[in-house]
């Protein structure tokens, strides 16, 4: 399949330098030949354009001092002022650091754990047990961050929290530790909480991908005497490689926009320097105080960085693994 794709691309490229007459004809031919493919994609592309691309005119707000009460013609244009304000705010760099720290930790751990979970779940023998674990593991996804935040704060409390009680009992510590009061632990706590809540849910995609692997491959490996770990390594993981790559590329694009719900629900006034993320900053210093333009400037910044990350990740993956989304 990869060879096919490569071949096609060379075709595609070879068309470009050829004389326009011939190219035009080629296009029409292909269009007729691939009419079903166009019929199955074009309407949705238009759709996508209307609902996703048209509202982008809103980005003009980033260059205005936007007020909802004025019409578009009456808005005051301020050039790059919003961006200058943004890049001059010390707090912006702090929240950017926090955002990147937590999203990178999330990418390293939060991305890998569901893969392992899916793979090992797949190795379970009893169907009923397998289904039960799978069903239960995704339940926390439906529990809101308010609740999860409450559970975690209670578990880590010095006032009878289960973690401290446990550590005291086995004698690792002599005095309860205020886990939630330590800025340096906050990123870890958020990452851990996220893994707890979302692993089961995120694993579903991989489980589906695993079902697409030809079962005969396992039979053959077994005949060759390959152990379970070897089967995982040689068959399961390569079998879901495409899915992993696609998800990885998309996640890298999302490194900078990670939402703020979990940080917001877990933070307290002692860890603010480690908990505030870009999306919360955008809310507090943007929309919440009616600074639509500033909020738009931040979201534009986020989008541009995301797209650069996406293209870079896509390019690197394409070169190194031949897997890409574009």
């Amino acid at each position: 399949m990869e060879t096919l794709s490569a071949k096609n691309e060379s075709n595609f490229l070879s068309v470009t330098p050829s004389p326009p007459k011939k190219r035009k004809k080629g296009f029409w031919q292909i269009l007729v030949q691939q009419k079903y493919l166009y019929l199955m994609s074009l309407p949705f592309v238009i759709w996508c354009f209307v609902f996703n691309y048209l509202p982008i005119w809103g980005w003009t707000m980033a260059f205005q001092n936007y007020k909802p009460s004025r019409s578009f013609g009456e808005q005051e244009w301020v050039g790059f002022k919003q961006f200058i304000d943004l890049f001059q705010d010390e707090r912006f760099y702090l929240v950017l650091r926090n955002t990147l720290a937590m999203s990178l930790m999330g990418l390293v751990f939060g991305f890998v754990v569901p893969i392992f979970f899916a793979v090992f779940l797949n190795e379970l023998k009893g169907t009923i047990f397998k289904r039960t674990v799978q069903t239960v593991s995704y339940l926390p996804h439906f529990v809101s961050w308010v609740v999860v935040g409450g559970i975690i704060t209670k578990m880590l409390s010095v006032d009878g929290g289960i973690v401290n009680e446990l550590l005291l009992t086995i004698g690792v510590i002599n005095e309860p530790i205020q886990f939630m009061a330590q800025g340096k632990w906050f990123w870890g706590i958020v990452t851990g909480a996220d893994i707890w809540k979302e692993t089961g849910w995120n694993a579903i995609i991989y489980l589906a991908a695993i079902t697409g692997i030809d079962k005969e491959l396992y039979e053959a490996a077994r005949v060759d005497g390959a152990g379970r770990l070897r089967q995982i390594w040689n068959i399961t993981l390569p079998g879901i490689r495409t899915t992993i790559s696609v998800l990885l590329i998309m996640s890298i694009g999302h490194l900078i926009g990670i939402g703020f719900e979990k940080q917001f629900q877990l933070q307290n006034s002692l860890v603010l320097d480690y908990s505030e993320v870009l999306d919360l900053y955008a809310l507090n210093y943007g929309i919440k105080i009616s600074r639509f333009s500033y909020g738009t400037a931040i979201s534009m910044f986020t989008s541009v960085v995301s797209v650069i990350l996406l293209l870079t990740a896509n390019g690197i993956m394409k070169k190194t693994t031949k897997e890409s989304i574009m």
Partner: protein, 578 residues
């Protein structure tokens, strides 16, 4: 057409979609035009014979606060209102945390406003967009009841010195409202007071001593460590239990984050007052002495309440509504002696608690939009609600059903009273009592109607009846009937000339909001740091904190605020303020 490149293709797409978009747009315009023409006709017709007009009409409404019990006027009071006036309100309320900022921003941008609106802090945006109607003439011509209730407060309804229009009438608080009880101050468990023979609790020192003595005597409560004092710093509640007490204990009234000098009207962030530094020093001392709960700045709201509900927290610095859930759990468990008494504690005896200094009528309320189908009919409706008949209906319900008149006295039957207490939610939803109050101006608690009955169903006798035996015992020991008796009274103070500043609209453009948000972030971070510092570090941390505020632009912000306060004083009082 030539299909050269994907670009041509994209251009075509663009053309198609613009066409679609354009069509939708023009269609919409056309429909809204016909709509307004229809309305104009209606208008003229209605204003001719509006006097007794009770033909059915529907007004649309948006409320910026959540109102989960709204039942589309299908409740008992709602049906009577529709029957008597012909008016049905089609209401939408904000959900979740409320405030309606996003909805109102969209209304402002699109001009799609309902007939009338409770916009709260976002009113100025709608006013700027020219979407709010001046009610001055409407009230003058068609609303005698509203005029009567507002009385001298009419000045306070005006928008600003530059634009003295009346854009909203205050409907989220009662006129001439009296408080019958004190629910703030410093709180101490009844059992602690009893143990030491009800000593005088006047200063933070008295408070500290009694908590310490009790803790030393009884280090455990029901097998768990006793907590002398805990505060709630979860999100905005830090203001209620940590930062607001700083001005309350140092003889200043509540003006949000500011302190206003009553002579010069200069406003500053209240943290900058030197006496407040001493209050935070005391909190720091409490923490270092081990009297302030270690988890104060880490715990979540529910952990805080659970501690209170366990009965092991001896003292609080808060407002009753803030810790009520915890106290209710104590009452439900029959642990009345673990509930809390209220004291007007100050930093030392030189200060007087200003909790009861009146700010006068100052709040948010109903505004009529320029999209309103029939403003005259609407104001008449609001005025009917403000009539004695309307007020009694909204507060007491329907005669013979929710209350009876015995010898000229309105009495709530026992079974209704029981439902109000035990099944409040369902009762409110079915009856609609107090659901409609926010639609118009109304008299507050403690005001009597011409028949000599109170307009509202809250009166002093009820407060006392609601006390537990333990509370009554404590009160008796201090020679009082309500907690309020222990506090300095309204009559001890001049009403504030600038109203309640937390209601004052602030500029939405420019740097004000940004600096304010920055100072808030600094306060949320540095105050806990100062309280938890080593005693010898406190001065440095606190001074750094103040310096940081100024660095963020606090001085400019305060200057801007001062100018607004001065304008407000002159608007409210007619004084010429420099």
């Amino acid at each position: 057409m030539k299909w050269k490149t994907p670009k041509t293709f994209a251009a075509l797409l663009l053309a198609t979609t613009l066409l679609i978009g354009g069509c939708g747009n023009s269609g919409n315009n056309a429909s809204s035009n016909t709509g307004s023409t229809g309305n104009t006709g209606n208008n003229a017709e209605n204003s001719q014979n509006a006097a007794e007009d009770t033909s059915p009409i529907t007004f649309t409404f948006f409320g910026a606060d959540a109102s989960p019990n709204w039942n589309n006027m299908q409740d008992e009071v709602g049906k009577v209102i529709t029957e008597k006036t012909g008016v049905t309100i089609q209401a939408e309320y904000d959900v979740g945390s409320g405030g309606g900022e996003q909805k109102i921003a969209l209304m402002t941008a699109s001009g799609d406003v309902p007939d009338f609106i409770f916009a709260k802090g976002s009113l100025s945006k709608l006013v700027d967009a020219g979407l709010i109607m001046d009610m001055t003439d409407l009230i003058e011509k068609h609303a005698p009841n509203i005029k009567k209730i507002l009385g001298d407060n009419m000045n306070r309804m005006k928008y600003s010195n530059e634009d003295p229009s009346i854009y909203q009438i205050t409907t989220n608080m009662g006129v001439d409202q009296q408080s019958f009880d004190a629910t703030g101050g410093f709180e101490i468990q009844q059992r602690v007071l009893k143990e030491f023979g009800y000593p005088e609790i006047r200063t933070v020192k008295d408070f500290e001593d009694i908590l310490r003595k009790y803790k030393e005597k009884y280090p455990e409560t029901d097998g768990q460590p006793t907590i002398p004092l805990t505060l709630n710093a979860d999100d905005w509640k830090i203001m209620i239990t940590v930062t607001n007490p700083a001005f309350l204990t140092t003889g200043a009234p509540d003006d949000g984050e500011y302190y206003v000098n009553p002579e010069t009207y200069e406003a500053q962030l209240h943290y900058k007052r030197p006496e407040e530094k001493e209050y935070f020093r005391w909190l720091n001392h409490m923490y270092n002495e081990g009297l302030l709960d270690k988890e104060t700045f880490v715990q979540k709201d529910d952990q805080y309440k659970a501690k209170i509900a366990s009965g092991r927290v001896l003292g609080l610095i808060s407002q009753e509504w803030e810790y009520q859930d915890g106290e209710n759990a104590l009452k439900a468990a029959g642990k009345d002696e673990y509930t809390y008494a209220h004291f007007p504690v100050t930093l030392n005896e030189d200060y007087v608690d200003h909790s009861f200094q009146s700010a006068g009528l100052d709040g948010s309320g109903i505004a009529i939009t320029t999209a309103c189908k029939d403003p005259v009919r609407l104001i008449k409706f609001l005025d009917w609600l403000a009539s004695d008949e309307g007020q009694v209906l909204m507060n007491w319900g329907i005669e013979g059903k929710h209350y009876n008149v015995e010898n000229g006295v309105r009495v709530v039957p026992q079974e209704i009273q029981d439902r109000k207490v035990n099944d409040a939610n369902n009762f409110n939803k079915e009856s609609g009592i107090s659901l409609y109050r926010a639609f118009t101006v109304y008299y507050g608690d403690g005001v009597k109607d011409p028949s000599g009955n109170y307009y509202t169903t809250n009166f002093p006798e009820q407060i006392v009846a609601g006390y537990t035996e333990a509370e009554k015992e404590t009160l008796a020991a201090y020679g009082a009937t309500t907690w309020k008796d222990l506090f300095p009274q309204e009559s001890d103070f001049e009403p504030k000339e600038w109203g309640a500043l937390y209601n004052m609209p602030v500029p939405t453009d420019g740097d004000y909001q940004v600096i304010y948000q920055k100072t808030q972030d600094i306060i949320r971070k540095r105050i806990p740091e100062a309280v938890l510092a080593k005693p010898d570090q406190f001065d440095k941390v606190f001074d750094d904190f103040l310096a940081e505020l100024d660095k963020a632009g606090a001085k400019e912000m305060e200057a801007e605020y001062t100018a607004l306060v001065k304008k407000r004083v002159s608007l409210f009082t007619g004084k010429d303020v420099q």
